[in-house]
Symmetry: C2
Subunit: 303 residues, 2 copies
């Protein structure tokens, strides 16, 4: 069910919330939780990032275990599946600090199989788990306009829901634990391949000497219309490739989706081709550019 | 410039308009022109289709040359580039019947290079030419909600504009002759590749045992959102593959785009991959299904 966010002043008042991972997206998300009234503890691998963010109502924890002790609900927004594993089960990990009845909400993009494994291991200690990855990027995190796709039991999702209402604009409970990550994998496949579609189309238009601005405009209203044509098509035309969402992240997420496909025996031929194109950009040192820079692979062939 | 259609009662009153090609899209388009007041002549390769459509204010012509003699503006909506060539320059072709100052408007999907050639040959007889291919399919033709992308000189486009206002909802003058066909090629690349993107994403979701309805819903609001996810994603979930737009047409249009890429030295790797997948469906006899049936290539690999 997709629902819109209700308006409410400090809906997280008095809730003991922990936040691990204060990167580009994590920082504004943590601040939104604080503004919504949470009693907030934060942890970051590089402690100085957390100290820098510190403000009234917020504490910095030394370890994930300390974060677990201080919190009833812990949000994870760390780099990748390996980092989630380390934060949960590494030395001084969250699992050591959490009590039965506590809840972990992983909002990063994590492998589906690992997600199911993490949830199973936590449940042995009575700790609940929700995967709730997001779409919308840094802008969505700053504007609290993220699209959130969650996996987990109804009752557990209901406990995490006030946080989602603060952080996002659209929320969907997709299914059981892992289903949120499956939806995110689908999201990243569509985003990556549609960027490739728009890139090939606009590269052809440019090669034919036709104005890509007019073509983008003409196509937006029809079946070729999409958020990617609108936003990333414009970036390709302007050739402004400041991320946005990084090629390296797009590649990582598609590789994770591709690995899930392999495990399930599901062929994903276009995803593989797209990964090889994004991979070329990473090899030539463009991994930090916005994913719309995929068009460079196609255009440079003309040089 | 994209503009919306003004409301006007019989804006084509007294205009001598010819229409060649009474297929699924051509029939409703011709009738819209008639209803808008045109003095309409029609021609179709199989004459009985034209006879069947006949109604007050409409005449059936025996040959394209007759159609040219009866009309000041002739709209072409025939099957492919070869058919356009035949209708224009074949035996008893349009070119034999048209006078200097008359105008040909090709609204089908025709090769860019051939379009420029046809326009050049007609101009030697003082006949003007506009390429104005459309997006929106049979539904768009019936509802007069087509997206029209046109190439040609300003003054010539201006003469054709009243027809476009009757037939479509969005009109863009993309550039010189051929630019409309370049935009249509871009459109078909994006549509074909985004269908492939949605197909791989939903095939993975189904393989993972997650409800594709919920994933589609979750993704529609974010960067993965598109008309294709909305419309074709639903068709894939329902597994209803009645065209819509046929796989055989999608393949033909992408092949034409791919050939343009080859001529211009513009690599289109994802377009080539997509053509091979659509090609597999045509080989197994599914060419008349809707292009959303691409998901069958991916799903049957599980069988």
């Amino acid at each position: 069910m997709t629902e819109t966010r209700p308006q409410d002043p400090r809906p997280l008042q008095g809730m003991r919330i922990g936040f691990a991972g204060l990167g580009l997206m994590g920082r504004p998300m943590a601040l939104h939780l604080l503004e919504a009234g949470a009693d907030l503890c934060v942890w970051n691998r590089s402690r100085d990032v957390a100290e820098h963010l510190l403000r009234p109502g917020m504490q910095v924890c030394d370890t994930p275990a300390d974060l677990g002790r201080a919190s009833a609900i812990v949000v994870l927004m760390v780099a990748d599946t390996h980092a989630v594993d380390q934060v949960l089960f590494g030395n001084q990990g969250l699992a050591q600090g959490l009590d039965a009845g506590d809840l972990v909400v992983d909002m990063g993009t994590t492998s589906v199989m690992a997600t199911r494994d993490f949830a199973g291991r936590l449940s042995q200690a009575g700790v609940d788990f929700v995967d709730a990855p997001v779409s919308g990027g840094e802008i969505g995190a700053v504007d609290a306009s993220l699209t959130i796709m969650a996996g987990g039991d109804d009752a557990v999702i209901a406990r995490a829901r006030p946080l989602f209402d603060v952080l996002g604009r659209q929320f969907t409970h997709v299914g059981a634990v892992g289903a949120g990550q499956v939806a995110k994998a689908a999201n990243q496949i569509i985003v990556g391949l549609n960027i490739g579609a728009v890139a090939e189309a606009l590269a052809l238009v440019m090669a034919a000497g036709v104005d890509p601005r007019k073509v983008r405009q003409a196509l937006l209203g029809g079946f070729a219309g999409s958020r990617i044509l609108e936003v990333h098509g414009q970036r390709m035309i302007d050739a402004t490739f400041q991320a946005g969402a990084r090629i390296s992240t797009q590649y990582k997420d598609m590789r994770q989706a591709s690995e899930l496909g392999e495990l399930l025996g599901q062929p994903l031929p276009a995803t593989r081709l797209s990964m090889s194109l994004f991979g070329q950009l990473i090899e030539q040192g463009d991994g930090d550019l916005d994913h719309s820079a995929l068009i460079r692979v196609l255009r440079q062939a003309d040089d």
